[in-house]
Symmetry: C2
Subunit: 479 residues, 2 copies
């Protein structure tokens, strides 16, 4: 083992020797954010950074993939591959699991995950939750025990508000004291607003950023660094008063959205009882600028952020600041987690029984339109309910060759459309299904089919064209 | 009495004889909406309507005021008086309490109130609520028992979704059957989006409208009528599928706002615990188009709509459609009703005790900036709490000469600024206080003063200028 480590240290030293004119940026965590953040920094306009991406030893496959010249995340954004290729040409990016990298860093960007553990009952009923900071704390110790004295730590992880001040800073003070050093480190927080999808790179490079530091010197250092990475002429930076503020800003953004989705979900059920097409109503309301952010009914909420950030916030309020429970925000998660049950119940009600033995095609598995991200996809609960009933389910999603969380391969081609089904459910409103005509041509050769449009994407034109088929459209007043 | 009624009928006949070339529009209810709606219709571009405003006999003072050439509602919108004057010149408006008017109407516009009765505990804690439809039903019987056979009933009142179909229509069917008539009436629903204030008339005439009818013929009639009243070239009408939809749209709009205010109130308390200036955070978040409707912290919620519409909706869902409780919407009202307690508690905490014997100036009494509307103003709960503590309170509001709900006269001049106070609370962020400098000049001659900026309107400039005074700004991280 000692030999292996030494060899890896030599690799790192060689990489840095080839970049001796550059500052060293280490990105901790090579997931959805860290991987792209790494290559954006490695493509800085002035070519001033050598970037080392560090992840845990159990993520060796990802590290090897990166070093072998392949980007490990499938993306529809061509810029991702372009940036990655260019970083390789420049030789400004290297991936490793060796903590030795931290000893060389001028800047460490923290992009590791911080999860909420939900306690759920039947049908994902939220019964409690907890936030375990142990992994995050360990990661901070890892850096603090070996970093350079004047390092800048830039936390990008979505953390419970209060984390930089109450958790990160004390760890650095403790480790620096152990090392006999004055607390000369700088700690800042700046959250990304990464959207996987066609604007993946732009969502980091060309988008507004909010930042802060634990003191003026730290905030200044973050500001200077971000100016070299982000197109700040077009997307000016916003400096907030303290790290609590930026940390709160991130979870507030996501809680706002989660809560507005939960709100409209309750109205969806009311609207259906009253025979009201809520899509039509929401479109009318959105004409008012003060109401443009009202949400549309859908199947459910997925992804890494909206499903947990309101809980991170409420946890922080109670545990780190001895303040109130954010009841509206917690309730939002609880409503959203169960949203897919509504589609399930509507289908079941339509058939007058569960779907035992029926054959159902689910179009779209990911949680987001035109993107292959399946983390916490709401399709999962729908799938689980149908499967438990003994329904024969066929999944289709061109963006998801493999549903990692279920360890299932998924067909993304046209074979799925050759079968005969009792019902088709739109799980994710990918453009190919309605906008680009896939559903249209499928309906032309189908009969006695129930279509559940969980997202209200099927317009009047398509409905009129296929009047010989049976359509059932959730939330459009005809269920 | 019979003679009096007959005289009034003669008055009505004379008014209509002078307008024999015109169609007759009766507006039922001469409150905030009905009064302005009346004069907008009386000013139709083609001068095609004679308008009779009808209100209950106990509203005789308002009726007399109108017929004597004075508009009964104080407004900062010059157009209100211009329109009223022009209607008088045209002789196209008359007010009465005589139901005889309904026998003459081609169109009846329903603009009466429909209230929610809240059951409240200590400090306005919402413990229950009920909707009493009796008054509304009686008003419908009044019309249906005497209207013309082909009348168009246009309901503008904010009603529980389902009302036109489940309550209005059956009453008309019943009364027409009693009268031996076929059900030839037309019933439509179109809600206004009236904003009292400088755009009072425009909020009716120059704004988007949503409409519907209980059948195609009714919806067509509403559409035709609205085209003659509203600038539909610029603000196109939106036709929805049924009256449930438009009725729902109105209360959904207001619930959306109420809920977003309640949401941010919880975060305000969290932010203050964490020393975060939430205004700064919200401004940063609003840079994202998807988050522009996030609200700012404030003193509380007032007015006639946001304080009750979410409850009307939830009541309708449960009582008229046997559907779900709108929990997020009900909770919003419950949080908002108590919002002013937060300002009260912050003040009390600052002084370390209640404000017994202290002298406090409250700037602004109405519920809305630059408007004199005091209906359900949140200042009331703040006032009541301070008064119960034995605080000496001085109120100031240039838009509210009389606080009707409290039967108090209010000083709107500069005398209030001559006193010496322990604290000044911004109750309503009227422009005169901060933007137009009233507070600035007051602070120049004050000392040892605590200023509670419940709305975050005091900027850095004013704060820096008066550093010799003590400022306490709620929600800005320095409380």
């Amino acid at each position: 083992m000692i030999n292996e480590v030494t060899q890896e240290q030599k690799n790192i030293d060689a990489f840095l020797a080839a970049n001796s004119d550059k500052k060293v940026v280490v990105v901790q965590g090579l997931g959805f954010v860290g991987a792209v953040m790494s290559i954006v920094v490695a493509n800085s306009d002035a070519n001033e950074y050598a970037v080392i991406g560090v992840d845990l030893p159990n993520r060796k496959p990802v590290i090897d993939t990166l070093n072998n010249g392949e980007f490990p995340i499938h993306s529809t954004d061509a810029k991702v591959y372009e940036y990655f290729e260019n970083a390789r040409k420049r030789n400004t990016f290297y991936a490793t699991s060796d903590n030795y990298a931290y000893t060389k860093a001028d800047v460490v960007i923290v992009d590791i995950n911080l999860d909420v553990a939900k306690e759920v009952g039947v049908d994902k009923k939220l019964e409690g939750y907890s936030v375990n900071m142990d992994g995050f704390k360990a990661a901070m110790h890892t850096i603090a025990s070996r970093c350079k004295e004047d390092v800048l730590i830039l936390v990008e992880t979505t953390v419970p508000p209060g984390t930089s001040q109450k958790i990160v800073r004390p760890i650095f003070e403790e480790e620096f004291e152990k090392r006999g050093l004055a607390p000369t480190f700088k700690i800042g927080h700046s959250y990304e607003r990464v959207m996987p999808g066609p604007g993946y790179v732009d969502s980091i490079k060309n988008f507004y950023r909010v930042f802060s530091g634990i003191n003026e010197e730290s905030a200044d250092a973050v500001e200077k660094f971000l100016h070299t990475i982000i197109t700040t002429d077009e997307y000016p930076l916003t400096r907030l008063g303290n790290t609590n503020a930026t940390e709160m800003s991130k979870v507030l953004e996501n809680s706002f959205r989660a809560m507005n989705i939960a709100f409209i979900q309750e109205w969806t059920e009311f609207a259906e009882s009253a025979g009201v097409n809520l899509y039509e109503v929401v479109n009318a309301i959105r004409m008012r600028p003060t109401h443009q952010n009202i949400m549309r009914p859908g199947l459910g909420v997925g992804g890494y952020c909206l499903t947990k950030d309101p809980l991170l916030a409420s946890w922080a309020s109670q545990e780190l600041f001895d303040s109130i429970t954010l009841t509206q925000s917690e309730k939002a998660v609880s409503i959203n987690d169960r949203m897919p049950l509504h589609t399930y119940k509507t289908i079941t009600k339509h058939f007058g029984a569960d779907l035992y033995g029926k054959k159902v095609l689910i179009l779209g598995v990911s949680y987001l339109q035109n993107v292959g991200d399946t983390r916490y996809t709401p399709v999962e609960l729908l799938y689980d309910k149908l499967e438990a009933d003994g329904t024969e389910i066929v999944l289709h999603d061109p963006f998801v060759p493999q549903w990692v969380e279920k360890d299932m391969m998924i067909d993304g081609g046209d074979d799925a459309f050759d079968g005969a089904y009792d019902a088709v459910i739109i799980g994710t409103p990918h453009d190919i299904y309605v906008k680009d005509g896939k559903l249209d041509s499928f309906l032309s050769k189908s009969d006695n089919l129930v279509v559940f449009d969980s997202h209200g994407v099927i317009g009047d034109e398509l409905r009129k064209k296929h009047t010989n088929h049976e359509f059932k459209i959730i939330g459009r007043g005809d269920v």
